[in-house]
Symmetry: C2
Subunit: 312 residues, 2 copies
């Protein structure tokens, strides 16, 4: 049983109650607290030494990453974060000063995003250092964006640049809270997700939730400088593949009605001149994910690799 199959089994029969608006399977759970205009958002995420950071990683960056991953999920619903609780499981050999420095990095990021850290739990483990963060946020009911909702003809957008995140950005990425708040305040995105597992995989989640397909334009993919450099140096994948599959970009991936594409690009450029926004393709009625370049259109497989279609 692989991890995806296990998660499918674990989540297939979970208890719900009257307050659940959106349960497991989106970027955040959405809950009805009884307010007129806002829903609660609820999310948990964990980072583990050896998987998400190494023994050499600067502690403050570990703390930033642990919190910012959850912040990115709040952004992907169009919401704003509010309060976090933190579990730290540390081996007895772990220097307490390192844990303090990790907390310091997390607290600095929390302050920047006006997030309160309101509780925590420390426990001992013989395994690697682990941090689990749970975050509450909220979203205006009329502005909440789910993975489901994309329709044929929508334009597909992604913020920032993709690929090569392992060169460092995976530790320093900026959760797109401000950008998402602006987006849902000025436009009506149909569907949104954050790019954590790679563009191809996360777009597929959005497409499956929306029961549609998409055609991406290879030339429009915003390949990061890091991805190009890693490819040149032979330490990374070919640039386009890196942009499609590297993961941990934590950018916003969303769709808007085709007619909104140009006003959105104009408005974004005026509001966020430093952050690229790319229209990378369109939503299709036909399910599946394809990549178009000058030679034609090819299907992308589950892992984001482009397969040449056989000549017919």
């Amino acid at each position: 049983m692989n991890e995806l199959e296990l998660i499918r089994r674990l989540t297939r029969d979970l208890p719900a109650n009257h307050s659940v608006v959106v349960g497991p399977g989106d970027d955040c759970a959405v809950l009805e607290p009884g307010l007129d205009d806002r829903w609660l958002l609820f999310k948990t995420d964990a980072v583990v030494e050896g998987v998400h950071f190494t023994a050499d990683t600067e502690p403050a960056r570990i703390g930033h990453k642990a919190l910012a991953r959850c912040l990115s999920d709040i952004a992907a619903m169009g919401g704003r974060p509010d309060s976090a609780v933190v579990t730290v499981a540390a081996p007895p050999t772990c220097d307490p000063g390192r844990i303090e420095a990790i907390y310091g990095g997390m607290a600095a990021t929390a302050r920047r995003f006006e997030v309160a850290i309101v509780g925590g739990e420390t426990t001992s483990t013989t395994g690697p250092l682990l941090l689990s963060v749970a975050l509450i946020g909220s979203v205006q009911k009329t502005r909440c964006v789910r993975r489901a909702g994309a329709v044929s003809g929508d334009a597909v957008f992604v913020s920032g640049e993709l690929g090569g995140s392992l060169a460092g950005r995976h530790l320093d990425f900026e959760p797109r809270i401000e950008e998402a708040t602006w987006l849902v305040g000025h436009f009506r995105p149909h569907a949104m997700i954050d790019v954590s597992d790679g563009l191809a995989t996360d777009l597929r989640h959005l497409l499956e939730a929306s029961s549609v397909g998409a055609e991406l334009l290879q030339e429009a993919l915003p390949v990061s400088r890091a991805a190009r450099q890693r490819a040149r140096e032979g330490t990374g994948k070919p640039p386009v593949e890196a942009a499609l599959t590297d993961g941990e970009d934590f950018e916003l991936l969303f769709t808007v009605p085709g007619a909104d594409a140009v006003p959105l690009l104009d408005g974004w450029k005026a509001r966020f001149p430093e952050l690229r926004l790319s229209c990378i393709g369109r939503i299709t009625e036909t399910p599946g994910l394809t990549l178009r370049d000058r030679r034609g259109t090819r299907p992308l497989d589950l892992h984001g690799y482009a397969h040449f279609t056989k000549p017919g």
Copy 2:
């Protein structure tokens, strides 16, 4: 640096925001979501194999314990639980069927308490199996009970029986949600905490938060049958010491004005005839914790041991 010192350092300068009513240091954080009559409660807690359960523990009981510990904290504020998210860190050797069965036990307890499980995270670790649960609940603002608030002359009460929890109850305890809801609906407890680290330790937390002391009556302590049996068999501490220090009882410990003591005992007996409620002492203006028996009054040290006072 011990764990308490580390926690003190980690929590001394955490970011807050306008929504925080009670930050770290109580059974739950209390948050203002903008509702007229209710606050949110937010709590996280973790269980680790080898510390809170063993490799032989029946999986459903592990799942129950992981969730019920957080439920007990919600009860200790006078609140009701609402939604949970769960992080599971499992070694690659862990049988996925075991994790499914743990989830099954957690889901069964969640259903009984009308808690929705709305999200989760599974990650791999080379260390022992770990489950971290974060829980949202809510409480009527007029009925929220903190650790602080006990005043001289209050009667000290504890639900259930204490000590010997390791014999099995630490895996099967019943979070006192119904009892706490009834209590705050019919009386005005001044201060409350759940007994997780042992009566002496948790009462001391309540006393410190309230800046008061307490005198316990040794004969009134509700020593559990398991504690007596373990003492007889030589596998446990002396019964009174077990009741004071064993921990993981997850009972409610609270104070009410002295005048309410008898009406409370009467009302409780009528409403919860199966569950013992004991008046175990009184709050004193003098700080510190003392134990009175037929021979006189002795101070209890930090670990709950009674020291004979030297003859004056």
